[in-house]
């Protein structure tokens, strides 16, 4: 039985801000289903007593002194923008 169908893939793609073409969504659905079926093997491992590891080093709350440091000039960043207006990044109109 399929773990994931095309409609779910399209929903997730929308959440991830991808506009898939029809054929692409169908192909991805079958590939993702195959991968998710493979991943199901983890369900057989008992983990009720196991703590999750999101990070392998025992580092926490790393801070540094709050001092002024040299930083990249705004112009060096703004000139990378696909579209800009003066000191702003320009995006399509959101409010009519």
């Amino acid at each position: 039985m399929a773990v994931v169908n095309q409609q779910e893939v399209e929903q997730v793609a929308f959440l991830a801000r991808l506009a898939l073409a029809e054929a692409e969504a169908a192909k991805l659905a079958s590939q993702l289903d195959q991968i998710l079926q493979y991943v199901q093997q983890l369900q057989a491992i008992p983990t009720d007593e196991v703590k999750p590891t999101s990070h392998v080093l025992a580092l926490s709350n790393i801070t540094r002194p709050d001092q002024r440091q040299p930083c990249v000039p705004p112009e060096d960043v703004l000139r990378l923008a696909p579209e800009r207006h003066n000191q702003f990044f320009k995006v399509p109109k959101i409010i009519e």
């Binding site: 929308f14 991830a16 506009a19 898939l20 073409a21 590939q31 993702l32 195959q34 991943v39 696909p82």
Partner: protein, 506 residues
């Protein structure tokens, strides 16, 4: 000393430069000639700008610090930011992007006098094991142009193997340094997570990514690691652990060294790879090492674990590519945005509420390649409400078990030995349309990333059709010195690292 300087390891060239018998200008010009001749068929680099490189050479030779890499060109993968140099992750999404700052590893190389050669080819955003997902097109294996160089650091490994690079930096999230090093017959090291700063590395999976060297021999590997390793205030995940003397620690004896031999699934393990690794073990015993059986529980589930965690992190990291601040942006009105409106016959599909969301969608649809989209969707899926516990949380828990397995194993042994890859280099196109098969080629490399431990691949012979095989050594966290010492002792008792690809001599 004039013939083929590019064939020599960095440590020999450094001595020659110090003695005055090698001129860095001659070295770089030879390398450039070689790149101009050979790169068009290999595509180890996406582009090389000879004039720009010559200007850098003059600046470096005249004003560069006379450090441990003075006059030595070092090649870097296209996901490491170099100020003003195009850095694209081999993706349409970042085509034309010239970062306003350099990665810490680049600064460290430059502080030792190195010349930086950017733009080594890679899988798009490091998603792949063959360098075939590069938007630029695939790199060829220098020993057989019909085969892949491995990936994702395939350009770096192919360049080092074919003498189009003296040494290189790659990155390794699930084997992306070690597997291409094995496929190309060179040395590749993934350091301990946190050993090398990731500042300026374009992120794939932040809890797994590490930068490491790909080199012609173990001594060069130790040298490059000693330059790039160390704490960096700009990367809060870099460890404040002391950096050992990796080069000084190299010795040919393995007396008393305990080699851990783990039980693992040999499904899909090529017979010739098994034989070469078996022979390598005999060499280790002859050098004085002794075998210890170790258990690595759940190592066979490492791929399933990895593809949950890595894609989850990737989907989050790649959310930043939205066409607003830098990189590619789809043109308004071009292409199909949020589709589904009025298609009647199918169930209602999600649609964009406004022009901004439609722009995001088109930008990401056009800017990302197929594998990137696959991983973004898979990662978004395993993180989404309703699936989080079953997939992502489960993956993090199994990761704990895998890590604990390594902790236990390293109480009983110094270094663990495994093959680097279950097969030698496969053919171009062979696995491109079967993502799961492609993922399975990383079966022996992935657990080191999940556990955060260092691992190195060294050449250990060839298959019957002359494809190199890699021997993988793993050590406990921050024990790179021990790892490199065993790798060095093995290498010095073999001739594999002297066998150059025939094709590079043409």
């Amino acid at each position: 000393m004039s013939e083929s300087l590019c064939r020599l390891p960095i440590h020999q060239l450094r001595q020659a430069i110090e003695r005055g018998t090698c001129d860095p200008r001659e070295l770089v010009h030879q390398l450039l000639d070689h790149i101009t001749q050979r790169n068009p068929s290999l595509s180890a680099y996406m582009t090389v700008d000879p004039e720009r490189l010559k200007r850098q050479l003059e600046e470096r030779v005249q004003h560069g610090p006379r450090g441990r890499l003075f006059g030595i060109p070092i090649t870097v993968k296209d996901n490491l930011c170099v100020t003003g140099e195009e850095t694209t992750c081999a993706s349409r999404m970042l085509t034309g992007f010239r970062p306003p700052y350099s990665a810490t590893v680049i600064e460290r190389l430059r502080a030792e006098g190195a010349i930086i050669i950017p733009r080594a080819n890679m899988d798009e955003f490091a998603f792949g094991s063959s360098t075939e997902t590069s938007h630029f097109g695939p790199t060829k294996n220098p020993r057989d142009p019909e085969r892949v160089p491995g990936g994702s650091s395939g350009g770096s490994a192919a360049a080092v193997a074919s003498d189009l690079a003296l040494g290189a930096l790659g990155t390794d999230t699930g084997g992306s340094i070690r597997q291409p090093a094995a496929f190309c017959g060179v040395v590749g090291l993934k350091p301990t997570y946190g050993r090398v700063s990731r500042y300026g590395l374009i992120a794939f999976a932040s809890s797994l990514d590490q930068i490491g060297p790909i080199t012609k021999d173990v001594t060069d590997c130790a040298l490059l690691l000693s330059v790039i390793a160390g704490h960096d205030p700009k990367d809060s995940t870099s460890a404040p652990t002391k950096v050992d003397d990796y080069v000084g620690g190299l010795s040919p004896s393995l007396q008393g060294v305990r080699i851990g031999l783990p039980a693992f699934s040999d499904k899909g393990l090529d017979e010739m790879v098994r034989e070469r690794v078996g022979e390598a073990l005999k060499t280790l015993w002859r050098l004085g090492a002794r075998p210890v059986e170790v258990a690595l529980p759940h190592i066979d589930q490492s791929i399933a674990t990895y593809y949950i965690i890595a894609t989850a992190e990737a989907s989050s990291n790649l959310a930043r590519y939205d066409g607003v601040q830098y990189g590619y942006r789809a043109q308004e009105g071009k292409g199909q945005g949020a589709r589904g409106e009025g298609e009647g016959s199918r169930s209602p599909k999600p649609t964009a509420q406004n022009a901004l969301i439609a722009m995001y969608q088109r930008t990401r649809q056009e800017g990302f390649g197929e594998e990137a989209k696959r991983r973004i969707i898979l990662g978004t899926y395993v993180l989404s409400r309703g699936y989080y516990d079953a997939y992502y949380l489960k993956g993090l828990k199994v990761r704990t078990l895998i890590k604990q397995g390594f902790d236990e194993a390293f109480k009983r042994c110094d270094v663990i030995v495994m093959p680097t890859s279950p097969t030698a280099a496969f053919r171009l196109g062979e696995k491109l349309d079967d993502p799961l098969q492609m993922y399975l080629s990383d079966i022996y490399t992935i657990s080191a990333n999940l556990a955060g431990v260092p691992a190195v691949s060294v050449p250990c012979g060839f298959t019957s059709n002359d494809q190199p095989v890699g021997l993988q050594l793993l050590a406990n966290t921050f024990e790179e010195a021990k790892l490199l010492q065993v790798a060095y002792a093995y290498e010095q008792s073999t001739e594999w690292h002297h066998r150059k690809p025939v094709i590079s001599e043409q």
